[in-house]
């Protein structure tokens, strides 16, 4: 029973502390929120002038570049890159490295597929 009583004491202590701590934390957060609000109000007047400018710019960009054209350009760039890349990095993996590079599985699966394909014929 002494243990239970001690448990009760700790419960009272614990509940008090956890509520106290989270209440204080909540107050601190309200404080942070309040000061943030004041700071933002102070900063706003300056920003009003800047923001529209930014927005206009964005709109312009979007207008300037026709989506269709962008699509073609992007694809072209990608095609160019995909043509370039393999040449730049002529990977010559050694078999043993495959194992390390976890390539084993991929490789195995490749062959597995290949075998199955052959199996079908």
């Amino acid at each position: 029973m002494a243990e239970f009583l001690e448990g009760l004491y700790i419960t009272v202590l614990g509940v008090t502390v956890v509520f106290a701590v989270l209440s204080i934390l909540a107050i601190v957060m309200y404080g942070i929120g309040w000061s943030e609000k004041r700071l933002v109000e102070k900063e706003k007047p300056k920003n009003i002038e800047e923001k529209p400018a930014e927005k206009r710019e964005e709109v312009k960009e979007e207008k300037g570049l026709d989506e269709k054209k962008i699509a073609i350009i992007t694809a072209a760039i990608m095609a160019y890159l995909s043509q370039k890349r393999p040449k730049e990095v002529p990977i010559k993996r050694k078999p043993s490295q495959n194992w390390w590079l976890s390539g084993l599985t991929t490789y195995v699966e490749e062959v597995e597929n290949f075998n199955y394909e052959i199996g079908k014929w």
Partner: protein
């Protein structure tokens, strides 16, 4: 040594011949956890390593874990981790890999604290900052911890065990492991397994409790849109809460401190490299060690006891009463706010992030498909992580 001798020796050390009933039961328990993890995706990142590691350590002579978990140490070396490992090596042979993980990484708090660090880097405290009063619901849910603790004392557990069992109701795995390791390491596997299992069962445990305590009208209450939270606030929050809690409950400082450092890394925006490492590289590695280390404590002698069954039972009590505590305080706040707060969000004070918040959302949608309170439930949800760490701090300062 003749061939016969060699063969005899080999067979004498064949695990098969030394398998006890306890081992077999533990292997089945381990396999069950693996099955639940894979088949039902029950917290697989923890329960899969825990389960498979439990299987391995229960194969006799497997030498992955050679040291006992709660050894009788000479009084002068208790509390000295470096003397302890030396003593263990002397008396129980060289450490297996799981002994090293358990004694050097988990018992020293390193792994649970690094997990908290990673969780901090993964958590967005925004919803709580946007509506600070919801933090109180994270406190209310801790009532479940104390209810379970008192119940455990009544069932005959001593104070330290009872506290470790109660903390299961906090629904925070790392906190549970951290506290149990310090107060009652012999029941670590039971409390850890209970914590992670019930966390993944939150969608089953919570709804009946919530429904029993709320009316459909209450569940239908819509809440005001949360205000946006600025980057500056998100940066100030971890710093402020680390200092506030550190000054009030110093024994919670390691958990809260690491959580908030992680969160500051995340929100500061200037150390993405480190924030990513905390969430990924480091987190993954540490999670592997946590799972394997905790699983390696599932030995027949310490797990297969009536205590473990009681702990599993008390775990449910803890989760249910934590949910009830949250919801009832939610009803109080609803009354005080003039019906602006949906009392269900209190249930999310049980911090199985973000699952309990989702449960709450689901129940809200059931009553009114247009009712979105998930974000409001995230406030108590993350507050519950802090609340449980604070309670752990109180336990450590009173009992540690």
């Amino acid at each position: 040594m003749g061939l016969e001798q060699a063969l005899a020796d080999f067979f004498n050390h064949m695990g098969l011949l030394h398998l006890t009933v306890g081992n077999i039961v533990m292997i089945i328990v381990g396999l069950t956890l693996v099955y639940l993890a894979i088949r039902y995706k029950m917290e697989p990142l923890l329960l899969l390593p825990i389960g498979i590691s439990a299987v391995l350590v229960n194969l006799p002579f497997s030498h992955l874990a050679n040291w006992p978990l709660a050894p009788q140490l000479p009084p002068d070396i208790q509390g000295n981790i470096f003397e302890t490992v030396k003593y263990m090596n002397q008396h129980y042979g060289p450490p297996g890999i799981f002994d090293l993980i358990y004694y050097l990484l988990i018992k020293t708090e390193v792994v649970p604290l690094l997990i908290f660090f990673g969780l901090g880097a993964m958590t967005d405290f925004g919803p709580m900052i946007a509506d600070p009063k919801t933090a109180l619901l994270g406190a209310a849910a801790q009532i479940g911890v104390f209810v379970a603790m008192l119940a455990a004392i009544l069932l005959g557990f001593d104070l330290k065990e009872a506290a470790s069992i109660g903390i299961i109701g906090g629904a925070d795995g790392p906190t549970t492991i951290y506290l149990t390791t310090k107060l009652a390491p012999h029941i670590l596997s039971a409390t850890a397994v209970a914590a992670y299992s019930y966390m993944s069962l939150v969608p089953l445990i919570q709804p009946p409790v919530i429904k029993a305590l709320t009316t459909p009208e209450e569940r239908r209450i819509r809440m005001e849109q949360l205000r946006p939270v600025s980057k500056r606030e998100k940066i100030l929050f971890p710093i402020a809460s680390m200092i506030v809690i550190g000054l009030l409950v110093p024994s919670a400082a390691p958990l809260i401190g690491m959580l908030m450092i992680g969160n500051l890394f995340r929100e500061s925006g200037v150390v993405q490299r480190l924030s990513k490492a905390a969430q990924e590289e480091l987190m993954n590695i540490v999670t592997i060690f946590l799972g394997l280390g905790v699983g390696s404590t599932m030995r027949a002698e310490s797990f297969l006891t009536a205590k473990t069954l009681m702990i599993l039972g008390l775990g449910i009590v803890a989760f249910a009463s934590a949910t009830a505590g949250g919801v009832l305080f939610g009803k109080l706040m609803m009354k005080l706010s003039g019906g602006k707060i949906n009392p269900m969000i209190g249930a999310a004070g049980v911090s199985a992030v973000p699952m309990s918040a989702r449960v709450v959302q689901k129940l809200a949608s059931e009553e009114d498909p247009g009712n979105f309170i998930l974000m409001h439930a995230m406030g108590p949800n993350v507050a519950g992580v802090i609340g449980t760490a604070v309670v752990a701090g109180v336990f450590l300062s009173a009992l540690g």
